[in-house]
Subunit: 345 residues, 2 copies
C-alpha cells in the first residue's frame, strides 16, 4: 500500500488527510533544544548526520506525522556553493552580499555534491529508520530553497521585509541576475536529485519570498525556474512528486501550479482554501494552511481554523499542514491536539 | 468639468489615466529634504501646516500629477489618541506596545479632532492652493491607516515582517482586540470625516499589513471595518469616493471590493493587472501598480512594466500609481519620464 502522503500527492483524496507540519522539528520541542545545545552552531546541526537524523525524527516519535522532512536549511545550498553563511542570534542568516560578477564567479557549483554529503547521509539514515524501525507509513520529504528565494538572501546578505536589493538587481542588471539564477537553478536540480537518490520520496521547493515580486518578474524568476526544476526531476524520477511553495503568491498560484507541473502546491497562511481549490484543481494536491499563530493560541481559535480548512478540502487531494513555519513559543500540547483533530476528521 | 481623478473614481474610463504616486512627497526630492531638515522631527513636519502644505504640493509643481495626497502618516491617528509615537532613524516608528486593557483604556478618542487640528488646517490650505493657484484640475486625497494596520503598529510597538503579536492577540484575546478595533474604526471615521469637511475630495484607507492575515481574520479585521468606514462616510458624504488599499490581499481583493463598497481599489506591486481587472470589475476603479523598484531602475525595465499596466487597464476606470511607496533612492528624472509615458498613453 502506498504511503498516505504519496497517495495524496498522486492525486488521491485520502481522508483523513495525511499530515505534517512545516518546521515540525524545532525550538518548540524540548528534545530539539537539547540536541541543538549539543550541536554548537546551526550549520553543524544540519551537517552532522547523527544529530540531524535524530531531530528529523523527534516530532514523528511524539506525534506520528505522515511525513518526516529532512532537517536542514534552504541556505545550505549557498553554503555548499562556497558562499559564506553564518547564523546570528536574533538576526537570522547573514551572508556576504552578492552584487557583482566577481562574487558570482567565486561560487563553486562543482563542489555542491561533495559539500552536501553529510546531508545526503542524513537522508539515507532517516529513510532507513522510517521504513525499518518506524512502521513504513511515513514518507521522507527532501527540500531546497527555490532559486529566487536563495538569491534573495545571497544578494541582500540577510533577511529583509521585501528584498529591495535583489529586486533592484533583477531590473537593473538582468544579465548578472540571470546568470545567478541559472547557476542556482542547475545547482538546485543537482541537489534535489541527490536527495532523491539518497532516499527522499518527495521533494519540496520553498519559495518563501516569491510574494515580493511583481507579475512579470514572478513569471521569470519563480515560475520559469520551478518549471525547469520539475521537468528535470520528472525526467529522471518520474514517480517522485514535487511540492511547490510559492509563499504569498496570492493571485498567481493558479498560474504557478499549471505552468510548473508540480504535483503538490503549498498554500500559505493567507490563502482562502475554497478559492485556492478552484484555482488549483485536482489532481494537484493542495497542502496547508493553518495559521501558525492559531496553533500557538490553541483552543477555539485553533479548532475553528482547522475545521474550516478540513471542510474546504474534503473530497480533494490534500495534505494538512501549517501555512508557514511553527513558531517556537508553540505548546507541544497544542500540536498533539491538532494532530488528534485532523486524524479524527 | 470633473477633475480627472474624481471622474475615474466615479467609474469613467478616463484616458490617458489620471496619475499620482504613493509617497510622491518624499525623500527622493531635494526640495523635500530641505524642508524636512528645517522641520526637526517627522511628527513636527506632519503637524506644521505651512511645511506640510509645501511638501504636499512640491511634486505637483514639478510633475503636475492629477492628485495631491495630504502629507501625513498613518500613525498620526494613534498619536492623536494620546498613544506615544516617535520615529527612530533607520528603525521607523516606535510606539509603546499595547497588550492589555489598561493601555487600551488610556487611549483618548475624544481628543482626536482637537489633536489633528493642524492636519485639517493643512487640508484646507492644500485644497485652496490646488483650486485657486494651481489650475483646479488636481484633486486632494485625504487618508488614514486602516484599523488593522494601525493596530499592527500599536500592538507590536514597531514595524515587523509579519506582526505576530497582533495576530496572536486577535486569536487569544478576541474581546480585547475587538475593543481596540472598535475604537480605531470609530476614530478613523471621525478623522476621515473631518478631512473631508476640511476639503479632501477623496479618501484612501491604507491597510498596508492586510496581507499578513489568514482568510477568516481578514474578513473580520480588514473587510468588516472597511465596510463600516465606507458606509459611515457614504451616509454623510455621498459624493466623496473611498479608495481601499488592502496591500498584499492577493486572492481576497475581489471579496474586499464587493463587500466594502469602495469606489477605488489600490493594487499592490504583486497583483497581476489583468487578473485583478476580472476580479474587480467596473465601475470600481483600480489604482496601481508599477513596482517602485522598476521606477528606481528606470530605462527599459520601467518602460516595459508601465506599458504592461497601461495595456491591461485601458478601457476601464483606472488611476495610474505605484504598487507601494516610492523608494528614496529614486531619481527625480525617472519620475519625470514615467509621467511623460503615462500622459502619452
Amino acid at each position: 500500500m502506498r504511503k498516505p502522503l504519496l497517495a495524496a500527492l498522486a492525486g488521491e483524496a485520502v481522508w483523513p488527510p495525511p499530515l505534517w507540519l512545516m518546521r515540525q522539528a524545532g525550538r518548540y520541542l524540548p528534545e530539539y533544544r537539547e540536541i541543538r545545545a549539543q550541536a554548537g552552531d546551526f550549520i553543524a546541526l544540519c551537517t552532522t548526520p547523527a544529530l540531524a537524523t535524530e531531530v528529523t525524527l523527534q516530532p514523528l516519535r511524539r506525534y506520528g506525522m505522515d511525513a518526516a522532512i529532512l532537517f536542514s536549511d534552504i541556505l545550505i545550498l549557498p553554503w555548499a556553493l562556497g558562499h559564506g553563511l553564518r547564523f546570528e542570534e536574533g538576526e537570522g542568516p547573514v551572508l556576504p552580499p552578492l552584487r557583482d560578477a566577481a562574487t558570482l564567479a567565486g561560487l563553486r557549483p562543482e563542489r555542491v555534491t561533495e559539500a552536501v554529503a553529510p546531508v545526503l547521509e542524513t537522508v539515507r539514515r532517516v529513510r532507513a529508520e522510517l521504513d525499518e524501525a518506524m512502521g513504513g507509513t511515513a514518507a521522507l520529504i527532501g527540500f531546497a530553497g527555490a532559486p529566487f528565494t536563495v538569491a534573495c538572501y545571497m544578494v541582500e546578505g540577510r533577511g529583509s521585509k521585501d528584498f529591495p536589493a535583489v529586486r533592484g538587481m533583477a531590473y537593473r542588471d538582468p544579465a548578472l541576475f540571470g546568470r545567478l539564477m541559472e547557476l542556482l537553478t542547475e545547482a538546485t536540480i543537482v541537489y534535489l536529485a541527490a536527495q532523491i537518490e539518497a532516499g527522499a520520496e518527495a521533494v519540496m521547493l520553498f519559495d518563501s519570498w516569491a510574494g515580493v515580486l511583481a507579475p512579470s518578474p514572478f513569471r521569470a524568476h519563480v515560475i520559469a525556474p520551478a518549471t525547469r526544476i520539475v521537468a528535470a526531476l520528472r525526467a529522471r524520477f518520474p514517480d517522485v512528486p514535487v511540492i511547490g511553495f510559492p509563499r504569498l503568491a496570492g493571485l498567481s498560484i493558479g498560474a504557478y501550479a499549471s505552468a510548473t507541473g508540480v504535483q503538490g502546491l503549498g498554500l500559505d497562511t493567507t490563502a482562502d482554501p475554497a478559492l485556492a481549490s478552484r484555482l488549483v484543481p485536482a489532481p494537484v494536491a493542495l497542502q496547508g494552511n493553518l495559521d501558525p499563530l492559531a496553533l500557538e493560541a490553541g483552543g477555539a481559535a485553533m479548532r475553528d481554523a482547522t475545521q474550516a480548512i478540513l471542510a474546504a478540502m474534503r473530497g480533494r487531494p490534500f495534505v494538512f499542514n501549517l501555512g508557514h513555519g511553527i513558531v517556537p513559543s508553540t505548546s507541544p500540547a497544542h500540536v498533539a491536539e491538532l494532530v488528534g483533530l485532523v486524524r479524527g476528521a
